[in-house]
Assembly symmetry: C2
Homo-oligomer: 189 residues x 2
DNA sequence: CTACCTATTTACCAGTTGGTAAGTTACTTG
DNA sequence: CAAGTAACTTACCAACTGGTAAATAGGTAG
């Protein structure tokens, strides 16, 4: 009965759980009680926890990359694009969540292979987008940096993920904003 | 029989487990089998897992701060001190481990209160040391930065932890080194 | 020799974990 | 209306979780 968007509702709850407690920090029972269904019903939609994990990353990446396409579509300059990129992180943190893949990066040692690969794919795609913006910014003389765009993109990604993680454990979004403004400021031409 | 340094050996193994798999990623049984003792024996030394966790952070902080005192004792300039600070992170990563407290920061949402407080204390002490070095560096005109030393210290800490976390999931220490060199380079006068 | 203390083991325990098999309900389609 | 199918539930399960009580071995001190 009802609408068959149950899979999405499971993913919504699981996503929040991973972002706040980690992949090893929640169980099927947690989702079941939040959704008022039985555990067995969850296994119908996602046979194993690793399946749920993989589909979680895939959906997260899809939504994240869609947001990046939207930033591109607005056609602002590169500096403003980076500001909006950082603002996504800030919004996630404002909801007391960690980036899904940043969280999984910490739990890397315990993840099934498929999830490891999917997680790294998320970072690779982020890096790819950042490289594009950084090159655009350098071309348009609105950004300046030494080394390759790829190096800067990796550093930027790490900085935002790390600042997010630590700021969250202080419950202090301003702490993230401060670090984010600083690194973006250093890139300004 | 034998020597009663069992507590330390338990801590050694637990430390490695937390740094590679996370606090929620290992059990007393894992330590017991690695040490060839029973679980009950572990509970004699650390009644609850939260006790083990708290003592783990305390020891890690003590050792870490001792390393910072050693850096100070060598009396180099501030830039070199920061390089050595980053080298500590690099060494930990080279052993395929995450910073203990960086790992715990990710798992923040599931940690008992005492561990949360201890973890933040570690970051606070790191920040305090960094502020001292940054101020020294500014005074001696070997470092330059805008904003307060506290802001820079927080940003630096977040950057190193984040770069470490992501580099580890790529099994790529060079990736950390690149980000670390970059942020330190930006601070050079 | 005895009493005590430290460190350890054996033998449990209740609760939770991810997961499965078989049945049930309700909607769809030939 | 019968057969099928999608989305569940009930009722399990073995393995593992953190944790405890009681017994035991070995060293030490009076």
């Amino acid at each position: 009965m009802a609408r068959p968007d149950t899979s999405q509702r499971i993913l919504d709850i699981a996503e929040r759980l991973v972002q706040t407690r980690g992949y090893n920090g929640f169980s099927y029972a947690d989702i079941a009680s939040a959704l008022h269904v039985t555990k067995a019903s969850l296994h119908y939609h996602f046979p194993a926890k690793a399946d749920l994990g993989a589909r979680l990353i895939e959906r997260y990446e899809r939504n994240f990359l869609a947001a990046l396409v939207r930033i591109d579509a607005e056609g602002r300059d590169a500096r403003e694009k980076l500001r909006r990129y950082a603002a996504i992180y800030e919004d996630v943190l404002g909801d007391n969540r960690m980036c899904l893949c940043g969280m999984l990066a910490a739990e890397f040692g315990t993840l099934p292979k498929s999830m490891r690969d999917d997680m790294r794919h998320f970072f690779d795609e982020n890096e790819r987008w950042l490289v594009g913006v950084l090159q655009q910014g350098k071309r348009e003389k609105v950004l300046k940096f030494s080394g390759t765009a790829g190096e800067v993109a990796q550093a930027l990604l790490g900085t935002l993920e790390g600042a997010m993680m630590i700021a969250r454990s202080y419950g202090d979004v301003a702490r993230f904003k401060s670090a984010s403004d600083r690194v973006l400021g250093e890139l300004g031409a």
